[in-house]
Symmetry: C2
DNA sequence: TAGCTATATAACCATATGGATATATGCTAC
DNA sequence: GTAGCATATATCCATATGGTTATATAGCTA
């Protein structure tokens, strides 16, 4: 799991890659579409995509001539789970909210 | 803000640095205390601490002979906020929960 | 002041990263 | 099967990163 976090955080450390994820939040996109906003060569984008894919943040599809990418949410959830352990340090209402939710019927507060 | 995220994610990409944050979650600690669990030289730890500090994840204090470090929660909140934008992709109950909380009196759901 | 403790900085090294250009591969269309 | 499009891979380069050892700095203690 530590290795996963290494790869995920490392992938997220680059603004181009975060922007690519942002684009993929709107749905799948081809490499050309993902490359469009940037003044980078196509191989540079392919490299970024490889980093994202190896971190498990995206997945490659197969569609006729192209290989569209889609978001892979699990890796992002890994980040959310990691950072949630620190939530009490900044969110003073966390404990109160947590208590509250645990009393609400039908809500699974794990 | 993008620069901040670069530095923060980059700092978090190293397991030694994440372990240091984990230790600091238990309260402030000196450099020697932070170095203790690792088979790394003292300068290596100092370097890691510098990276964490420049990312805003920790802060240095002054105490007699030593310079204890403490957690700086704001940077971690920055991560939480960033990743929260993607929450809908993995958490199917997010929308429902969000709706629910917005109706609850006295709870600020920002 | 001298020595000890805690930490920082300097210099160096090997490997990783992010970019480029050139070329290869795999489909599609003719 | 040849051409063209979309994407991947190879090679190369400059800079960044993470480690080391050696040394400097700052505060405490005798």
């Amino acid at each position: 799991m530590d290795d996963k976090l290494d790869a995920i955080f490392s992938a997220l450390a680059d603004p181009t890659r975060r922007a690519i994820l942002g684009r993929l939040a709107n749905g799948k996109a081809t490499v050309a579409e993902l490359a469009d906003p940037f003044e980078l060569s196509q191989p540079a984008i392919s490299k970024h995509l490889k980093v994202l894919e190896q971190a498990g943040l995206i997945r490659s599809g197969r569609e006729a001539n192209s290989r569209p990418r889609v978001l892979e949410p699990a890796a992002l959830k890994t980040v959310a789970d990691w950072v949630a352990d620190y939530r009490r340090f900044w969110d003073q209402s966390f404990d109160r909210l947590d208590d509250y939710l645990s009393k609400v019927q039908g809500y699974d507060n794990d």
